[in-house]
């Protein structure tokens, strides 16, 4: 099976998954309490005008027709109007998405840079103090909720040491120092999320490395007289990193989930805050848009992982793996 077939298959899976994603989103958001018409017109609107609006919005159609209409609009990137802001949902999301991406990319990059070497060292020094320390760090990392990391970082680096701002986002165009200010605001949220991600990626790197280090080809590499460095980096790591790619992609997507909470902690006006606003104000079109976009980010990062996977792993051409 060629790489192309493989990717076509992956995209096919993605499309099917996406269809279910929209279905779940639609179902869940449509059982939200509250009549959209009432939300729009206010509680004392006359029944007649409510009816008129419902007809206008297609709310008196059977649910599946509503779903198909909604899906068709979605397909055209028309996510409707936010009830709360009166703006097109798509535009609102496009405003916020780049900031969340900035945060998620920075956090993931931080995590990758930190976790890969740590994971490799932990695996190579298995059961030695370095490994135990890395393990402990791993446990602590995955066990502390992202918002707690954030608060601790704020407490230490912003409140006590006063090194960074406690929160907020400043666009480079808004600030006097341009990107410097933006980055100053980025450091704490990105690193606090990065730490949580690091733990996962490190643990995965470690176990993946251990698995590879125990594999026959590593034994053969040693039997060929390769130095340990070559065995570890050239042989084991090259293979170990492949499953880690998936984990990194997953972590990137996970970062998007964490953002809902973390943006609240750091008052980072991105997708997370927008989503929470949508949730709190029962802005159903906005909520649907946010959920779909976040899920899309997840699926796209998975797809990216698949592409990278295929790129790094020549075996993928034979397909069939899952």
């Amino acid at each position: 099976m060629s790489m192309l077939s493989y990717l076509v298959r992956r995209v096919g899976f993605l499309a099917v998954t996406l269809l279910f994603v929209t279905l779940i989103t639609f179902v869940v958001t449509n059982v939200l309490p509250g009549d959209v018409a009432v939300l729009i017109l206010g509680p004392n609107a006359s029944e007649a005008s409510l009816q008129a609006l419902r007809a206008d919005l297609g709310l008196n159609q059977p649910l599946w027709v509503q779903y198909l209409d909604w899906l068709w609009a979605l397909f055209q990137l028309d996510m409707g109007q936010s009830l709360r802001f009166g703006e097109p949902v798509w535009g609102l999301i496009m405003d916020k998405l780049p900031r969340s991406l900035l945060l998620a990319v920075a956090a993931t990059a931080f995590a990758v840079v930190l976790s890969l070497p740590l994971g490799v060292i932990a695996a190579v020094k298995q059961n030695e103090p370095a490994d135990v320390a890395a393990s402990m760090f791993g446990f602590v990392g995955v066990s502390i909720p992202i918002f707690l990391w954030g608060l601790v970082f704020i407490l230490v680096f912003a409140v006590w040491l006063n090194l960074f701002p406690t929160g907020g986002f400043v666009a480079p165009s808004q600030a006097e120092n341009g990107w410097m200010t933006t980055i100053r605001h980025l450091v704490l949220p990105a690193t606090s999320m990065g730490f949580a991600l690091t733990a996962y990626v490190m643990r995965m790197t470690r176990s993946s490395m251990l698995e590879e280090l125990g594999d026959e080809y590593v034994k053969l590499a040693r039997a060929k007289g390769m130095s340990e460095r070559v065995v570890v980096i050239r042989h084991a790591f090259r293979n170990a990193v492949i499953p880690v790619i998936t984990v990194i992609a997953f972590q990137f997507a996970y970062a998007f989930g964490g953002i809902v909470v973390l943006e609240q902690v750091f008052f980072w006006p991105g997708m997370g805050k927008l989503t929470l606003t949508a949730i709190q104000s029962r802005d159903i079109p906005l909520l649907q848009g946010c959920i779909i976009v976040v899920a899309m980010m997840y699926m796209l990062s998975n797809l990216a992982a698949d592409v990278l996977y295929a790129y790094f792993d020549p075996r993928i051409r034979y397909g069939g793996e899952n």
């Binding site: 099976m1 060629s2 192309l4 077939s5 076509v8 298959r9 096919g12 899976f13 594999d215 026959e216 080809y217 034994k219 053969l220 590499a221 040693r222 039997a223 060929k224 007289g225 390769m226 130095s227 340990e228 070559v230 050239r234 042989h235 090259r238 293979n239 492949i242 790094f312 792993d313 020549p314 075996r315 051409r317 034979y318 397909g319 069939g320 899952n322």
Partner: protein, 722 residues
Amino acid sequence: MSRTQSTATDVASTADTDTPLLDVRDLRTQFSTDADPVVAVNDVSFTLSRGETMGIVGESGAGKSVTARSVMGLIDHPGEIVGGEILFDGEDLAAKSEKEMQTVRGNRIALVPQDPMRSLNPVLTVGSQIVETVERHQNVSETEAKEIAIDAMAETGIPDAADRFSDYPHEFSGGMRQRVLIAIGLACEPDLIIADEPTTALDVTTQAKILDLLNELQEERGMGILMITHNLGVVAQTCDTVGVMYAGNLVEKAELEALFERPTHPYTRGLIDSIPETDREYDELPTLDGAMPDLTELPTGCNFAPRCPYAEEACRTAGDPELRGVEGTPSAAACIRADELDLSEGRVPDAAGLGKSVDRSGDPLLRVEGLKKHFSAGDGVLGGLTLDRSGGGFPKLKRQSVKAVDGVDFDIYPGETVGLVGESGCGKSTVARTVLQLLEPTDGGVYFDDQPLHELGSSEIRSLRAEMQMIFQDPGSSLNPRKTVGGIIGRAMEKHGVASGEEKHERVGELLERVGLSAGAAGKYPHEFSGGQQQRVAIAHALAVEPRLIVCDEPVSALDVSVQAQILNLLNEIQAEEGIAYLFISHNIGVVKHICDRLAVMYLGEVAEFGTVEDVFDAPYHPYTQALLSAVPHADPTRRTNRVLLEGTVPSPIDPPSGCSFRTRCPKKIGDVCEREDPELADAGDGHHIACHLSREEMSEPVGEGHAGDARSVESGARSDD
């Protein structure tokens, strides 16, 4: 190739010197555990000269691999060498630092590992994996290294080596990967090659080619080879001297011929006897009772004593016997009775004349007609789809299927054993499962007792299951680990109303005793038994519902030879008593010949030949049968068969060749007709069916040597070799 020759002469000149290439003295390797350390290699000593091939043979757990790895200084944590010397060319490897060892490994001592599928780094090209060894150990430029690598690949018989240099391992077949591994080993022209079960993972026809290759290379280069194997046939084909290991000890050391002519240790004798040879007739295989002891719970005295038919009181009390020369032989054995015992004759059990005759006058118990089973390729709904560009232009989605079984006919009469034999992937296991309706046939019919199973509903099938049972390859897997043995067997009885309550308990006990276990075994969990015992439990489970047919899917291939013989005997015994018919699936020709009455040889989802064992094993043969038979390594160094080496690999069952499916590899292909027409499985009138366009006379002719030679100049189909 000039370098090779010069090396060969070098070796020849140094081979005369007194120092052996490898002199292992009292090697002791142990693994630390929570409890006492486990001694995996117990004071093993042997020497190996240049140009010599020494085999180390033994069943799993004997310590042979650990011995090999100890020599290379590659013992995994928590193992370590705790005693002895490993003198390699006079230098003690055991005393060398890791850094120093790195210059020895791959350079002067090369390893040919066991598992060609896992021993190559999947993300590096095969070329780079050879080159890195060369660059590591030789002071050469990159271009030179590449040349050396390509030479090595070519030398090991990889066609178009230069082209394939930058292919990835997964683009090679198993046999070709093994050649790559050998090329890696050869690249730095080592003095010693340690071949650790180099052919165990390969099919018998491929194995034959790899063994030939190793033999040839050694003849050319004269390096020493330490051959680790569990297969006495392999030993007989390749080795000059042999060491037999048992439970961490070297129990016998002998010249090859001497070992087979007159073993000096009872264990060696037992091993040789246990192997069902294709050219011998047995009613019952001679067996060794029991299994190798757990290394953590070794018996006092001689480790082998509990299983030894010659054991005396002294054997059990006098401590571990030392390996020493045996009077009147060139061999050495670790047996206190070695001098007095003459083991030159095998111990053939008394129970002669148990031979059976099958009555085929009535209706067959099972009839299989035109059975087909196709699987969708890949997994999932989208999995079977692939882009097809064959038509040119825009790629089309095409659903592919694997034609695992593509038209199989045979029948089984009551009380008869019919074998299905073939190499991996030929579809024999699929036949077994389809026959039992564990898989739904794509086409064709299965008639049990004249009932068309393929037309029955699932509940009817379920009630018929009591009549048809199955024994699986891996007893560890076929017994639910969460249930007691008694529970598993009892459930079968209850399910089919054979027995329940107290009666059930009794019958479970009886059955367990019947298969050679104690009734008390019922309360234990499967993992508490050894492999052989587990297979006995599996047999008891199959017998519990009093079936008329048992399908045995490779029932002994996961077992050590000594245990294998026990199970085969048990199966025969049960058949003799109960009149049960067996459908016996195996890749092992010797086993099949021993146990079967009739035999179907399968190739690529079809039956190539079907007939009585005598018919199939004697000319006229289907050309594939002929090749298969010739490839089996006999555990008899005196027999050198005329090998028929097959070209290429088995074609993909997704897209099998037109006409005769064997024609792409057939040494006797006669031309267009083979490509056009799929030969019928034709009956010569005596019940001997062969699917071939050749006449019976042509089939009886031997395949010329030329063909064997031709196998080297393989047609270079893109990714198909071997």
